[in-house]
Amino acid sequence: MTDAVNKDSIEVDAHGHVAVDVTTLDAELIEGPSVATPDVAEYALWLGDDSLVLAQQLGAWISRAPELEEDVALGNVGLDLIGHARSLLHYAGTATDRTEDDLAYWRTEPDFRSLHIVEQPNGDFAHTIARQFIVSHYLFELHSRLRASADATLAAIAAKAVKEVDYHRDHSTQWVLRLAQGTDESRRRMITALSDLWPYVEEIFRDDPLIDRLEGIAVRPSSLRPAFDAAIAPVLAEAELEIPRGFVASGGGRTGKHSEHLAFLLAEMQVLTRAHPGASW
Protein backbone atom coordinates (compact mmCIF):
# COMPACT_ATOMS: atom_id res chain seq x y z
CA MET A 1 0.00 0.00 0.00
CA THR A 2 2.80 2.38 0.80
CA ASP A 3 4.37 3.95 -2.22
CA ALA A 4 7.98 3.60 -1.21
CA VAL A 5 9.93 6.21 -3.05
CA ASN A 6 13.66 5.94 -3.30
CA LYS A 7 16.20 7.15 -5.80
CA ASP A 8 15.66 4.14 -8.05
CA SER A 9 11.93 4.53 -8.29
CA ILE A 10 11.88 8.21 -9.19
CA GLU A 11 12.88 7.30 -12.70
CA VAL A 12 9.99 4.89 -12.92
CA ASP A 13 7.71 7.65 -11.76
CA ALA A 14 9.10 10.00 -14.38
CA HIS A 15 7.72 7.60 -16.98
CA GLY A 16 4.29 8.67 -16.02
CA HIS A 17 3.31 6.12 -13.44
CA VAL A 18 2.38 7.63 -10.14
CA ALA A 19 0.76 5.47 -7.57
CA VAL A 20 -2.09 7.25 -5.89
CA ASP A 21 -2.69 5.45 -2.67
CA VAL A 22 -6.01 6.16 -1.17
CA THR A 23 -5.75 5.99 2.54
CA THR A 24 -6.80 8.13 5.39
CA LEU A 25 -4.70 9.92 7.90
CA ASP A 26 -6.14 9.09 11.23
CA ALA A 27 -6.83 5.76 12.80
CA GLU A 28 -10.38 6.78 13.57
CA LEU A 29 -11.10 7.36 9.91
CA ILE A 30 -11.89 4.41 7.70
CA GLU A 31 -9.00 3.07 5.70
CA GLY A 32 -9.95 2.25 2.13
CA PRO A 33 -9.29 -1.16 0.62
CA SER A 34 -5.99 -1.26 -1.24
CA VAL A 35 -7.10 -4.02 -3.61
CA ALA A 36 -10.46 -3.83 -5.35
CA THR A 37 -12.68 -6.90 -5.68
CA PRO A 38 -13.42 -7.90 -9.31
CA ASP A 39 -16.88 -6.29 -9.22
CA VAL A 40 -15.64 -3.08 -7.63
CA ALA A 41 -12.78 -3.00 -10.14
CA GLU A 42 -15.26 -3.29 -13.01
CA TYR A 43 -17.30 -0.42 -11.57
CA ALA A 44 -14.17 1.70 -11.10
CA LEU A 45 -13.33 0.95 -14.73
CA TRP A 46 -16.75 2.22 -15.85
CA LEU A 47 -16.30 5.51 -14.09
CA GLY A 48 -12.61 5.82 -14.86
CA ASP A 49 -13.15 5.24 -18.58
CA ASP A 50 -15.88 7.90 -18.71
CA SER A 51 -13.50 10.45 -17.23
CA LEU A 52 -10.53 9.37 -19.33
CA VAL A 53 -12.35 9.48 -22.67
CA LEU A 54 -13.96 12.83 -21.90
CA ALA A 55 -10.63 14.29 -20.78
CA GLN A 56 -9.00 13.17 -24.02
CA GLN A 57 -11.78 14.87 -26.00
CA LEU A 58 -11.46 18.14 -24.09
CA GLY A 59 -7.70 18.23 -24.58
CA ALA A 60 -8.32 18.49 -28.33
CA TRP A 61 -9.84 21.96 -27.78
CA ILE A 62 -6.61 23.49 -26.54
CA SER A 63 -5.62 26.19 -29.06
CA ARG A 64 -8.90 25.69 -30.96
CA ALA A 65 -11.54 27.11 -28.62
CA PRO A 66 -13.44 30.30 -29.57
CA GLU A 67 -11.36 32.32 -27.11
CA LEU A 68 -8.22 31.90 -25.03
CA GLU A 69 -10.17 31.63 -21.78
CA GLU A 70 -12.00 28.61 -23.16
CA ASP A 71 -8.75 26.91 -24.21
CA VAL A 72 -7.77 27.26 -20.57
CA ALA A 73 -11.15 26.30 -19.16
CA LEU A 74 -11.66 23.16 -21.23
CA GLY A 75 -8.03 22.17 -20.62
CA ASN A 76 -8.52 22.59 -16.88
CA VAL A 77 -11.75 20.60 -16.85
CA GLY A 78 -9.94 17.87 -18.77
CA LEU A 79 -7.08 17.94 -16.28
CA ASP A 80 -9.46 17.43 -13.36
CA LEU A 81 -11.06 14.53 -15.21
CA ILE A 82 -7.63 12.99 -15.88
CA GLY A 83 -7.06 13.16 -12.14
CA HIS A 84 -10.30 11.30 -11.45
CA ALA A 85 -9.51 8.77 -14.17
CA ARG A 86 -6.05 8.10 -12.73
CA SER A 87 -7.39 7.44 -9.26
CA LEU A 88 -10.20 5.22 -10.56
CA LEU A 89 -8.08 3.28 -13.03
CA HIS A 90 -5.33 2.84 -10.47
CA TYR A 91 -7.89 1.32 -8.12
CA ALA A 92 -9.44 -0.80 -10.91
CA GLY A 93 -5.99 -2.11 -11.79
CA THR A 94 -5.30 -3.38 -8.29
CA ALA A 95 -7.66 -6.31 -8.92
CA THR A 96 -5.64 -7.60 -11.86
CA ASP A 97 -2.21 -6.22 -11.01
CA ARG A 98 -2.25 -3.66 -13.81
CA THR A 99 -1.23 -0.02 -13.61
CA GLU A 100 -3.38 2.94 -14.65
CA ASP A 101 -1.16 3.25 -17.75
CA ASP A 102 -1.66 -0.42 -18.65
CA LEU A 103 -5.39 0.19 -18.57
CA ALA A 104 -5.32 3.49 -20.44
CA TYR A 105 -2.88 2.56 -23.19
CA TRP A 106 -3.04 -1.19 -23.68
CA ARG A 107 -6.73 -1.97 -23.96
CA THR A 108 -8.68 -1.85 -27.23
CA GLU A 109 -12.19 -0.49 -27.57
CA PRO A 110 -14.19 -3.65 -26.68
CA ASP A 111 -12.43 -3.53 -23.29
CA PHE A 112 -13.40 0.09 -22.67
CA ARG A 113 -16.48 0.59 -20.51
CA SER A 114 -17.22 4.25 -21.20
CA LEU A 115 -20.65 5.61 -22.01
CA HIS A 116 -21.50 6.55 -25.58
CA ILE A 117 -22.07 10.19 -24.72
CA VAL A 118 -18.41 10.78 -23.84
CA GLU A 119 -17.23 9.38 -27.18
CA GLN A 120 -19.50 11.65 -29.22
CA PRO A 121 -17.35 13.99 -31.32
CA ASN A 122 -16.43 17.44 -30.05
CA GLY A 123 -18.38 18.93 -32.98
CA ASP A 124 -18.64 22.68 -32.81
CA PHE A 125 -18.30 24.51 -29.49
CA ALA A 126 -22.04 24.14 -28.82
CA HIS A 127 -21.79 20.35 -29.14
CA THR A 128 -18.95 20.24 -26.64
CA ILE A 129 -20.91 22.48 -24.27
CA ALA A 130 -24.06 20.36 -24.61
CA ARG A 131 -22.01 17.25 -23.84
CA GLN A 132 -20.36 18.97 -20.88
CA PHE A 133 -23.70 20.21 -19.61
CA ILE A 134 -25.18 16.71 -19.60
CA VAL A 135 -22.12 14.87 -18.31
CA SER A 136 -21.11 17.40 -15.63
CA HIS A 137 -24.60 17.43 -14.15
CA TYR A 138 -24.63 13.63 -14.15
CA LEU A 139 -21.15 13.42 -12.60
CA PHE A 140 -22.06 15.92 -9.90
CA GLU A 141 -25.08 13.86 -8.84
CA LEU A 142 -23.03 10.66 -9.07
CA HIS A 143 -20.09 11.83 -6.97
CA SER A 144 -22.39 13.54 -4.46
CA ARG A 145 -23.83 10.11 -3.67
CA LEU A 146 -20.70 8.03 -4.17
CA ARG A 147 -19.17 9.96 -1.26
CA ALA A 148 -21.34 7.75 0.95
CA SER A 149 -20.18 4.50 -0.69
CA ALA A 150 -19.42 1.58 1.62
CA ASP A 151 -16.15 1.29 -0.31
CA ALA A 152 -13.91 3.85 1.39
CA THR A 153 -11.60 4.21 -1.59
CA LEU A 154 -14.41 5.05 -4.01
CA ALA A 155 -15.87 7.38 -1.38
CA ALA A 156 -12.55 9.23 -1.05
CA ILE A 157 -12.18 9.66 -4.81
CA ALA A 158 -15.78 10.91 -5.07
CA ALA A 159 -15.40 13.35 -2.17
CA LYS A 160 -12.49 14.93 -4.00
CA ALA A 161 -14.10 14.83 -7.44
CA VAL A 162 -17.45 16.34 -6.44
CA LYS A 163 -15.87 19.66 -5.52
CA GLU A 164 -14.15 19.92 -8.89
CA VAL A 165 -17.14 18.77 -10.93
CA ASP A 166 -19.19 21.48 -9.22
CA TYR A 167 -17.07 24.03 -11.12
CA HIS A 168 -17.49 22.08 -14.37
CA ARG A 169 -21.28 22.09 -14.22
CA ASP A 170 -21.30 25.78 -13.41
CA HIS A 171 -19.08 26.45 -16.42
CA SER A 172 -21.28 24.48 -18.83
CA THR A 173 -24.48 25.94 -17.36
CA GLN A 174 -23.28 29.48 -18.00
CA TRP A 175 -22.36 28.62 -21.58
CA VAL A 176 -25.70 26.94 -22.27
CA LEU A 177 -27.42 30.15 -21.17
CA ARG A 178 -25.04 32.37 -23.11
CA LEU A 179 -25.29 30.42 -26.35
CA ALA A 180 -29.05 29.93 -26.15
CA GLN A 181 -29.66 33.60 -25.43
CA GLY A 182 -26.92 34.99 -27.65
CA THR A 183 -27.23 35.53 -31.38
CA ASP A 184 -29.62 33.71 -33.72
CA GLU A 185 -26.66 31.66 -34.89
CA SER A 186 -25.47 30.68 -31.41
CA ARG A 187 -29.04 29.75 -30.44
CA ARG A 188 -29.49 27.68 -33.58
CA ARG A 189 -26.26 25.82 -32.84
CA MET A 190 -27.17 25.23 -29.18
CA ILE A 191 -30.54 23.75 -30.16
CA THR A 192 -28.90 21.50 -32.77
CA ALA A 193 -26.22 20.37 -30.33
CA LEU A 194 -28.69 19.53 -27.59
CA SER A 195 -30.85 17.51 -29.95
CA ASP A 196 -27.77 15.68 -31.30
CA LEU A 197 -26.54 14.73 -27.82
CA TRP A 198 -29.85 14.01 -26.10
CA PRO A 199 -30.31 10.46 -27.52
CA TYR A 200 -27.27 9.42 -25.45
CA VAL A 201 -28.73 10.56 -22.11
CA GLU A 202 -30.80 7.42 -21.61
CA GLU A 203 -27.77 5.11 -21.41
CA ILE A 204 -26.24 7.11 -18.54
CA PHE A 205 -29.09 6.16 -16.23
CA ARG A 206 -29.46 2.51 -17.23
CA ASP A 207 -28.87 -0.11 -14.51
CA ASP A 208 -26.60 -2.89 -15.76
CA PRO A 209 -26.58 -6.21 -13.79
CA LEU A 210 -23.29 -5.31 -12.08
CA ILE A 211 -25.12 -2.66 -10.08
CA ASP A 212 -27.25 -5.31 -8.36
CA ARG A 213 -24.11 -6.95 -7.03
CA LEU A 214 -22.73 -3.70 -5.62
CA GLU A 215 -25.54 -2.60 -3.32
CA GLY A 216 -24.28 0.12 -0.99
CA ILE A 217 -21.02 0.43 -2.94
CA ALA A 218 -22.06 1.62 -6.39
CA VAL A 219 -24.62 4.31 -7.08
CA ARG A 220 -27.62 2.95 -8.95
CA PRO A 221 -27.67 4.99 -12.19
CA SER A 222 -31.47 5.06 -12.45
CA SER A 223 -31.64 6.62 -8.97
CA LEU A 224 -29.80 9.68 -10.27
CA ARG A 225 -32.29 10.53 -12.98
CA PRO A 226 -34.76 12.57 -10.88
CA ALA A 227 -31.99 14.74 -9.43
CA PHE A 228 -30.43 15.18 -12.88
CA ASP A 229 -33.77 16.22 -14.40
CA ALA A 230 -34.46 18.59 -11.52
CA ALA A 231 -31.03 20.22 -11.86
CA ILE A 232 -31.15 20.86 -15.58
CA ALA A 233 -34.82 21.85 -15.86
CA PRO A 234 -34.46 25.42 -14.53
CA VAL A 235 -31.43 26.05 -16.72
CA LEU A 236 -33.21 24.85 -19.85
CA ALA A 237 -36.28 26.88 -18.86
CA GLU A 238 -34.24 30.04 -18.48
CA ALA A 239 -32.44 29.32 -21.75
CA GLU A 240 -35.84 28.71 -23.39
CA LEU A 241 -34.63 25.35 -24.62
CA GLU A 242 -36.86 22.32 -24.81
CA ILE A 243 -35.80 18.82 -23.94
CA PRO A 244 -35.47 17.18 -27.33
CA ARG A 245 -37.78 14.32 -28.20
CA GLY A 246 -36.93 11.59 -30.58
CA PHE A 247 -34.92 8.43 -30.77
CA VAL A 248 -32.89 6.87 -27.99
CA ALA A 249 -29.43 5.59 -28.88
CA SER A 250 -28.78 1.90 -28.28
CA GLY A 251 -25.94 2.38 -25.81
CA GLY A 252 -23.94 -0.64 -24.71
CA GLY A 253 -20.75 1.11 -23.61
CA ARG A 254 -20.74 -0.71 -20.27
CA THR A 255 -20.48 -4.04 -22.07
CA GLY A 256 -17.84 -2.85 -24.52
CA LYS A 257 -20.08 -2.06 -27.49
CA HIS A 258 -18.99 1.26 -28.88
CA SER A 259 -19.63 3.51 -31.83
CA GLU A 260 -16.96 4.03 -34.46
CA HIS A 261 -15.82 7.22 -32.73
CA LEU A 262 -14.04 5.52 -29.84
CA ALA A 263 -11.53 3.61 -31.97
CA PHE A 264 -10.25 6.80 -33.60
CA LEU A 265 -9.99 8.51 -30.24
CA LEU A 266 -8.07 5.60 -28.70
CA ALA A 267 -5.78 5.33 -31.72
CA GLU A 268 -4.70 8.92 -31.20
CA MET A 269 -4.42 8.56 -27.43
CA GLN A 270 -2.46 5.32 -27.51
CA VAL A 271 -0.25 5.61 -30.58
CA LEU A 272 2.84 7.01 -28.88
CA THR A 273 2.90 4.48 -26.07
CA ARG A 274 2.35 1.61 -28.47
CA ALA A 275 4.96 2.80 -30.97
CA HIS A 276 7.52 3.48 -28.25
CA PRO A 277 6.73 1.40 -25.17
CA GLY A 278 8.28 2.92 -22.06
CA ALA A 279 9.02 6.23 -23.78
CA SER A 280 9.57 9.20 -21.51
CA TRP A 281 10.46 12.83 -21.95
Binding site: M1, T2, D3, A4, V5, N6, K7, I10, D13, V18, A19, V20, D21, V22, T23, T24, L25, L29, G32, E69, E70, V72, A73, G75, N76, V77, L79, D80, L81, I82, G83, H84, R86, S87, F140, E141, S144, R145, A152, A155, A156, A159, K160, A161, K163, E164, D166, Y167, R169, D170, H171, T173, Q174, L177, A227, A230, A231, P234, V235, E238
Partner: protein, 181 residues
Protein backbone atom coordinates in the same frame (compact mmCIF):
# COMPACT_ATOMS: atom_id res chain seq x y z
CA UNK B 1 -17.41 30.46 14.31
CA UNK B 2 -14.33 28.38 13.60
CA UNK B 3 -12.20 27.29 16.51
CA UNK B 4 -8.75 28.47 15.46
CA UNK B 5 -6.71 25.93 17.42
CA UNK B 6 -8.78 22.98 16.21
CA UNK B 7 -8.75 24.35 12.70
CA UNK B 8 -4.96 24.69 12.72
CA UNK B 9 -4.57 21.14 14.06
CA UNK B 10 -6.63 19.88 11.12
CA UNK B 11 -4.91 22.03 8.53
CA UNK B 12 -1.37 21.49 9.83
CA UNK B 13 -1.28 18.27 11.89
CA UNK B 14 2.23 18.71 13.25
CA UNK B 15 3.52 15.58 14.97
CA UNK B 16 3.90 15.58 18.75
CA UNK B 17 7.20 13.72 19.10
CA UNK B 18 10.46 15.59 18.63
CA UNK B 19 11.98 13.27 16.00
CA UNK B 20 8.93 13.45 13.74
CA UNK B 21 8.56 17.18 14.27
CA UNK B 22 12.17 17.70 13.17
CA UNK B 23 11.47 15.85 9.92
CA UNK B 24 8.16 17.73 9.50
CA UNK B 25 10.00 21.05 9.80
CA UNK B 26 12.35 20.02 6.99
CA UNK B 27 9.57 18.71 4.73
CA UNK B 28 7.53 21.84 5.45
CA UNK B 29 10.09 23.97 3.59
CA UNK B 30 9.12 22.52 0.22
CA UNK B 31 7.26 25.04 -1.92
CA UNK B 32 4.58 24.76 -4.58
CA UNK B 33 6.50 24.89 -7.90
CA UNK B 34 3.73 26.98 -9.51
CA UNK B 35 3.35 29.39 -6.59
CA UNK B 36 6.80 29.39 -4.99
CA UNK B 37 5.83 31.74 -2.15
CA UNK B 38 3.64 29.04 -0.61
CA UNK B 39 5.10 26.11 1.26
CA UNK B 40 3.29 22.79 1.34
CA UNK B 41 2.66 23.53 5.02
CA UNK B 42 1.00 26.87 4.18
CA UNK B 43 -1.19 25.07 1.66
CA UNK B 44 -2.18 22.28 4.01
CA UNK B 45 -0.84 19.75 1.50
CA UNK B 46 1.57 18.25 4.06
CA UNK B 47 -0.64 15.86 6.01
CA UNK B 48 1.67 13.84 8.24
CA UNK B 49 5.29 13.06 8.97
CA UNK B 50 6.37 10.27 11.26
CA UNK B 51 9.82 8.98 12.08
CA UNK B 52 10.34 5.44 13.34
CA UNK B 53 13.98 4.38 13.82
CA UNK B 54 15.59 5.37 10.49
CA UNK B 55 12.40 5.47 8.41
CA UNK B 56 10.39 8.58 7.61
CA UNK B 57 6.82 8.22 6.38
CA UNK B 58 5.27 11.32 4.81
CA UNK B 59 1.75 11.77 3.52
CA UNK B 60 0.71 14.51 1.12
CA UNK B 61 -2.68 15.33 -0.34
CA UNK B 62 -3.25 16.83 -3.80
CA UNK B 63 -4.95 20.20 -4.11
CA UNK B 64 -6.76 19.18 -7.31
CA UNK B 65 -7.07 15.58 -8.53
CA UNK B 66 -5.12 16.25 -11.71
CA UNK B 67 -2.65 18.81 -10.40
CA UNK B 68 0.73 18.08 -12.05
CA UNK B 69 2.58 20.07 -9.37
CA UNK B 70 1.94 17.18 -7.01
CA UNK B 71 4.66 15.04 -8.58
CA UNK B 72 7.18 17.85 -8.21
CA UNK B 73 6.24 18.46 -4.58
CA UNK B 74 6.58 14.78 -3.80
CA UNK B 75 10.01 14.59 -5.42
CA UNK B 76 11.09 17.76 -3.60
CA UNK B 77 10.02 16.36 -0.21
CA UNK B 78 12.07 13.27 -0.96
CA UNK B 79 14.98 15.52 -1.98
CA UNK B 80 15.06 17.69 1.13
CA UNK B 81 14.66 14.77 3.51
CA UNK B 82 17.39 12.79 1.74
CA UNK B 83 19.66 15.85 1.80
CA UNK B 84 19.02 16.17 5.54
CA UNK B 85 20.37 12.65 6.01
CA UNK B 86 17.21 10.57 6.15
CA UNK B 87 17.87 7.33 4.29
CA UNK B 88 14.58 5.53 4.22
CA UNK B 89 11.88 7.92 3.04
CA UNK B 90 8.43 6.81 1.93
CA UNK B 91 5.80 9.17 0.60
CA UNK B 92 2.12 8.44 0.14
CA UNK B 93 -0.48 10.52 -1.61
CA UNK B 94 -3.81 10.49 0.17
CA UNK B 95 -7.16 11.72 -1.13
CA UNK B 96 -9.12 11.64 2.07
CA UNK B 97 -9.96 13.90 3.77
CA UNK B 98 -10.23 15.96 0.60
CA UNK B 99 -8.06 19.07 0.52
CA UNK B 100 -9.78 22.41 0.90
CA UNK B 101 -8.64 26.02 0.60
CA UNK B 102 -9.87 26.38 4.19
CA UNK B 103 -6.56 24.77 5.18
CA UNK B 104 -4.46 27.58 3.73
CA UNK B 105 -2.64 29.42 6.52
CA UNK B 106 -3.20 33.13 7.19
CA UNK B 107 0.52 33.69 6.59
CA UNK B 108 0.16 31.84 3.30
CA UNK B 109 -2.76 34.04 2.27
CA UNK B 110 -0.75 37.17 3.07
CA UNK B 111 2.20 35.90 1.03
CA UNK B 112 -0.14 35.05 -1.82
CA UNK B 113 -1.54 38.61 -1.93
CA UNK B 114 1.95 40.05 -1.84
CA UNK B 115 2.84 37.79 -4.77
CA UNK B 116 -0.07 39.25 -6.78
CA UNK B 117 -2.62 36.45 -6.43
CA UNK B 118 -5.89 37.11 -4.61
CA UNK B 119 -6.31 34.67 -1.71
CA UNK B 120 -9.43 32.52 -1.39
CA UNK B 121 -12.28 34.36 0.27
CA UNK B 122 -14.84 32.66 2.46
CA UNK B 123 -15.17 28.99 3.20
CA UNK B 124 -15.62 26.00 0.97
CA UNK B 125 -19.10 24.64 0.60
CA UNK B 126 -20.23 22.01 -1.78
CA UNK B 127 -23.62 22.97 -3.01
CA UNK B 128 -26.23 20.34 -2.48
CA UNK B 129 -27.53 18.36 -5.37
CA UNK B 130 -30.72 19.47 -7.03
CA UNK B 131 -31.54 22.62 -8.94
CA UNK B 132 -28.73 25.08 -9.44
CA UNK B 133 -29.50 28.68 -10.07
CA UNK B 134 -27.70 30.07 -13.10
CA UNK B 135 -26.14 32.88 -11.07
CA UNK B 136 -24.20 31.99 -7.98
CA UNK B 137 -23.71 34.66 -5.34
CA UNK B 138 -20.07 35.23 -4.53
CA UNK B 139 -18.10 37.31 -2.10
CA UNK B 140 -16.20 40.15 -3.75
CA UNK B 141 -12.59 39.36 -4.55
CA UNK B 142 -10.13 42.04 -3.60
CA UNK B 143 -7.60 43.20 -6.19
CA UNK B 144 -4.13 42.22 -4.92
CA UNK B 145 -2.63 45.36 -6.47
CA UNK B 146 -4.92 48.23 -5.48
CA UNK B 147 -7.19 46.48 -2.93
CA UNK B 148 -10.33 47.52 -4.78
CA UNK B 149 -13.37 45.31 -4.36
CA UNK B 150 -14.65 46.47 -7.73
CA UNK B 151 -13.50 43.38 -9.59
CA UNK B 152 -15.06 40.83 -11.88
CA UNK B 153 -14.39 37.27 -12.94
CA UNK B 154 -13.15 36.97 -16.52
CA UNK B 155 -12.90 33.19 -16.53
CA UNK B 156 -13.68 30.44 -14.08
CA UNK B 157 -10.47 28.65 -14.96
CA UNK B 158 -7.01 30.13 -14.97
CA UNK B 159 -3.33 29.41 -15.45
CA UNK B 160 -3.43 26.44 -13.05
CA UNK B 161 -6.18 24.18 -11.72
CA UNK B 162 -6.47 26.13 -8.49
CA UNK B 163 -6.95 29.61 -9.96
CA UNK B 164 -9.50 31.64 -11.87
CA UNK B 165 -8.91 34.84 -13.82
CA UNK B 166 -10.15 38.20 -12.59
CA UNK B 167 -9.97 41.79 -13.70
CA UNK B 168 -9.88 44.89 -11.52
CA UNK B 169 -12.29 47.56 -12.72
CA UNK B 170 -10.40 50.31 -10.92
CA UNK B 171 -6.74 49.70 -11.76
CA UNK B 172 -7.76 47.71 -14.88
CA UNK B 173 -5.18 45.00 -14.24
CA UNK B 174 -6.02 41.33 -14.69
CA UNK B 175 -5.07 39.05 -11.80
CA UNK B 176 -5.27 35.44 -10.64
CA UNK B 177 -7.61 34.41 -7.87
CA UNK B 178 -6.96 31.25 -5.85
CA UNK B 179 -10.50 29.92 -5.95
CA UNK B 180 -12.30 28.39 -3.01
CA UNK B 181 -12.42 24.60 -3.09
Amino acid sequence: MVNTATHEATARPRPADAASLAAWTIAAQVVDPEIPVLTIEDLGVLRSVSVASDAVAVTLTPTYSGCPAMDAMRDDVLGVLTAAGYQNVSIRLVLSPAWTTDWMSEIGKAKLREYGIAAPTGHATVRGSGPVGPISLKMAVKCPRCSSLNTRELAHFGSTSCKSLYECRDCLEPFDYFKVL
